[in-house]
């Protein structure tokens, strides 16, 4: 038996370097092959970032590198014009190595609604977006469900969806005839098939092969059956399989978390090929639980989704499109999938926005990365011309830094002095974050600058400047 494959943390730059062309050509934008190898094992570069190795004469090395660096959880892509890639995970815990491929969130559409309503819901899904520290967070896929059980009806619903959006699709039914109608309607868009079960695996396997689509193996609440299904589908020559161990609300929540964890542990720690596959979570399942009001269901769906995103879900299907249920998922996904080695702080010092003149406002903030990015994106979206002085607060937010004395009058005075802002503006007013308002008096004394207290949340900066800048003399 072959020796156990090295985990991503066990691969050294030398392992990678040995397989690179070793020409130090620099085409990858780092000076030499060793530096590139280091970037690769740190997850900062991919093998395909080395142009020469894509040449045919290096094919053998390339394949061996792909094998060496292949994640224990297979990455699977569905969709055509717009695609979604799921899985591709290397590790159990986030601090070991950056989580790859943020889980797409698919919203369901049922086939029992009329074409206009389908279009409207698709439009709503595709149009959902939220601006967050300079990024746009969006939803990623549509799950069409066969509620009627009617193949023709399903086919036409799928057709409606395909005509309205490029988003990747998941076709949901346990009836192979229904799925087949969906596959026919979808054209060559390569949807994900949900799902092969104990009863229908043979027919679903056939469809998956025939239409070259990835397929979900579904065995809610029965992890042994799930494993058997995977083995069986693999025996049919299918490699692109997504695992559905079942998502349960109510009394089944603990079991859901345990099975997601057991599967991911088996893959990342023991190199289990049967479970080295992406996991689908279906928080939509809470809608079939106890008969509750819509808001209670949304509430339950929201926290179930976030729990499972934290616990290894690689793809989620949700029903609620309410902003308050979806927004926390999008923001948590963004955070969870950032590089954990990314510094918590940004460099202190002066930042210039737009083209500030001598009468431009001067603002103060902390050097906690997320505070800075938030303030930065608020200043940009308000299109302000201004100076922002980033004070060294040990990477703490304004509130924590004020409480812990990391942000104090002396620090602010020093930062103002060192920035050289005095030479840039013809006034001596500085805008302090509202959460640091209590430092106003001391800061005026220590720095000689007049303090204008800003909003408690930087979203109010634009309004403050519009309404109160320049400051009235002799306040």
């Amino acid at each position: 038996m072959a020796e156990k494959k090295k985990g991503i943390r066990e691969i050294s730059p030398i392992d990678v370097y040995k397989l690179l062309p070793r020409t130090n050509c620099g085409e990858c934008d780092v000076p030499n092959c060793m530096a590139f190898a280091t970037r690769v094992v740190n997850g900062e570069a991919v093998i395909d970032g080395c142009p020469p190795i894509l040449d045919l004469r290096y094919k053998d090395s390339y394949d061996r590198l792909r094998e060496l660096l292949a994640p224990p959880v297979k990455a699977i892509t569905f969709g055509a014009l717009r695609t979604a890639t799921i899985g591709g995970k290397y590790v159990l815990q986030r601090h070991e190595f950056t989580y790859q491929f943020p889980p797409p969130i698919a919203i369901d559409i049922s086939d029992d609604i009329d074409p206009t309503s389908i279009k409207a819901r698709v439009h709503e899904i595709a149009g959902f977006s939220y601006g967050y520290i300079g990024r746009t967070l969006t939803l990623d896929a549509v799950a069409v469900r066969s509620v009627t059980g009617d193949a023709q009806r399903f086919g036409s619903a799928v057709k409606q969806v395909v005509e309205s959006t490029d988003l990747p699709l998941i076709l949901c039914s346990h009836d192979p005839e229904v799925i087949k109608a969906g596959l026919e309607a979808v054209g060559c868009k390569r949807p994900l098939i949900y799902a092969a079960t104990k009863e229908n695996w043979r027919e679903m396997a056939d469809l998956a092969v025939r239409y070259d689509c990835p397929v979900v193996a579904s065995a809610p609440g029965d992890i042994t059956l799930l494993r058997s299904l995977v083995r069986t589908l693999q025996a049919c020559g299918i490699t692109e399989i997504v695992l559905d161990p079942g998502t349960f609300g109510d009394e089944g929540l603990a079991g859901t978390v345990y099975s997601f964890t057991a599967i991911r542990k088996a893959a990342c720690r023991d190199g289990d090929p049967l479970f080295g596959l992406p996991i689908i979570a279906t928080p939509i399942a809470v809608w079939t639980g106890q008969e509750l009001g819509e808001d209670q269901n949304r509430w339950q769906e929201a926290y179930t989704a976030s729990i499972l995103m934290t616990r290894y879900a690689d793809l989620l299907i949700m029903h609620s499109l309410e902003g308050w249920t979806v927004l926390p998922q999008l923001i948590w996904r963004f955070g969870l999938y950032t590089d954990p080695r990314k510094p918590v702080s940004v460099d202190p010092g002066m930042r210039i926005f737009g083209t500030p003149g001598p009468d431009a406002p001067v603002l103060i903030t902390s050097n906690y990365a997320l505070t800075f990015f938030t303030v930065e994106s608020d200043i940009k979206s308000a299109k302000l011309d201004c100076y922002l002085i980033v004070v060294e607060t040990g990477g703490l937010s304004v509130e924590a830094a004020v409480a812990g004395r990391y942000l104090n009058a002396e620090k602010i005075a020093e930062a103002l002095r060192e920035s050289g802002i005095e030479q840039k503006v013809n006034h001596k007013y500085v805008i302090l974050p509202g959460l640091a308002a209590r430092l106003s008096g001391e800061t005026e004394e220590a720095s000689g600058w007049r303090i204008m207290v800003g909003p408690r949340d930087s979203s109010g900066i634009g309004k403050l400047i519009r309404e109160h800048w320049p400051p009235k003399e002799d306040r």
Partner: protein, 421 residues
């Protein structure tokens, strides 16, 4: 459907007092329909899907993608005739060490006046990773009380109007109405930059709270290393034997030379200490080491910093996961139970700001923000949560109780697939 919805399930889910909250009697709900008489019922469409054993494989049309005759290329003769059985034996991880147990609050028999004490910690594995590893002590929820009003989002303030100026009444409401396991009294008034209330005044507030409720109490300072020391020492003496949790001591106190007197007073009067550090395990270990010189390790809790969802929750999540694993692997300086100031969720603008109709009312968005932040850190191993919104509190209690007692999920096909919802 004309059947009335079964409210017992809803109440179990949301806890007493919450259905009322949700029904809009106590908070204003915008863009939300919650008339209980008009609840939309979920009607799962039953029955198993139609399975066609004789599904004609050869008669299918190849898809456009495979029009070149892929279908005929499938070699089904090698396909298994039956499902291939494949067992699964999950591996139970064992860890060489465990998290310390710390008991908060002392009953009359133990030298205090609490109705019961509460023990946190004791974990032998990361939480909810293995059904065979029993969760030793359930997660504990302490609800906040502030002795001085400060700007608060409407969704938080709305249920506090009656008690906002009376810490004792506020504490009583937290315990009696919302079932808080513990109460935190934040003595903001002592802040030299706010009211600079004297340690004696602060001790009086704490005394009132101790009389109003009989749950274990957490004492929150103002963050000033000198003033907090004076306040904590005064209160430690006043509440001799109550096993309070002093929230918190910091590296700043060590710099200000107030750490030792606070620790010694806490030790002498039988209290516990919360050591606070900002998202850095080395600082956390260092502060713990300093404390060990004057204070018993089995009465120390750690606050590694809770950042709001959207403002860096992932940093808090990861640092708690790392700390817990390191502690279980044997790092004695990280074997302290941890707390999360989950109320910090509300510092995120997404929790309270009006973002337009598309993003719903902050009356839901705020509490779900606090809920998701707490649940995320529950998964990372946090033992004690300082919380504020009743809806977040009841959800935390409900979810954590379901997570620690593994319920039964009946194996079945996924019924959401064809449900009318």
């Amino acid at each position: 459907m004309t059947d009335k919805p079964d409210l017992s399930g809803l109440l179990r889910l949301l806890g007493p007092g919450i259905a009322e909250l949700l029904a809009g009697r106590e908070i204003i709900l915008e863009n939300v329909q919650l008339d209980l008489a008009e609840l939309q019922l979920t009607i799962p469409v039953g029955g198993s899907p139609v399975i066609l054993p004789g599904y004609p494989v050869t008669g299918s049309q190849p898809s456009p993608a495979n029009a070149s005759g892929m279908a005929s290329g499938i070699d089904r003769s090698r396909w298994p005739a039956e499902l291939l059985e494949e067992p699964f034996t999950p591996v139970t991880d064992t860890y060489p060490a465990r998290i310390r147990e710390v008991t908060l609050g002392a009953t009359k028999g133990e030298g205090g006046s609490r109705g019961r004490n509460i023990t946190v910690g004791g974990a032998r594995a990361p939480p909810f990773t293995d059904p065979c590893v029993h969760h030793v002590h359930p997660p504990v929820i302490a609800m906040d009380v502030f002795d001085t009003p400060f700007p608060m989002p409407r969704a938080l303030k709305s249920h506090l109007t009656e008690v906002i100026d009376d810490p004792a009444a506020w504490a009583r409401m937290n315990v009696e109405k919302y079932g808080a396991d513990m109460v935190t009294v934040h003595l903001l008034s002592t802040d030299p930059l706010i009211k600079d209330a004297s340690p004696k005044e602060a001790a009086k507030t704490v005394e009132d709270v101790l009389q109003a409720v009989d749950v274990p109490i957490i004492i929150g300072g103002c963050g000033d290393p000198k003033k907090d020391a004076e306040t904590f020492i005064e209160i430690a003496e006043m509440a001799d034997g109550e096993r309070l949790l002093l929230n918190s001591v910091t590296a700043d106190m060590a710099d200000a030379k107030t750490l030792e007197p606070v620790a010694k007073a806490a030790d002498k009067h039988g209290h516990c200490i919360l050591a606070f550090t900002g998202l850095d395990l080395n600082s956390a270990k260092e502060l713990n080491r300093r404390l060990y010189q004057f204070f018993p390790a089995d009465r120390i809790l750690n606050d590694l910093t809770t950042v709001a969802l959207g403002y860096g929750l992932e940093y808090s999540f990861t640092i708690h996961e790392r700390a817990r694993i390191a502690g279980l692997m044997g790092d004695a300086e990280l074997q302290h139970p941890t707390i999360s100031a989950a109320t910090n969720a509300w510092s995120a603008r997404e929790a309270w700001m009006d973002l337009g109709p598309r993003f719903g009312s902050p009356d839901f968005r705020g509490p779900i923000w606090e809920t998701i932040g707490s649940l995320t850190l529950l998964l990372a191993g946090v033992d004690l949560f300082l919380m504020m919104h009743p809806l977040a509190v009841s959800t935390m209690r409900d979810v954590s109780s379901r997570l620690i007692t593994e319920g039964t999920a009946k194996a079945a096909e996924a019924s959401w697939v064809n449900a009318r919802i």
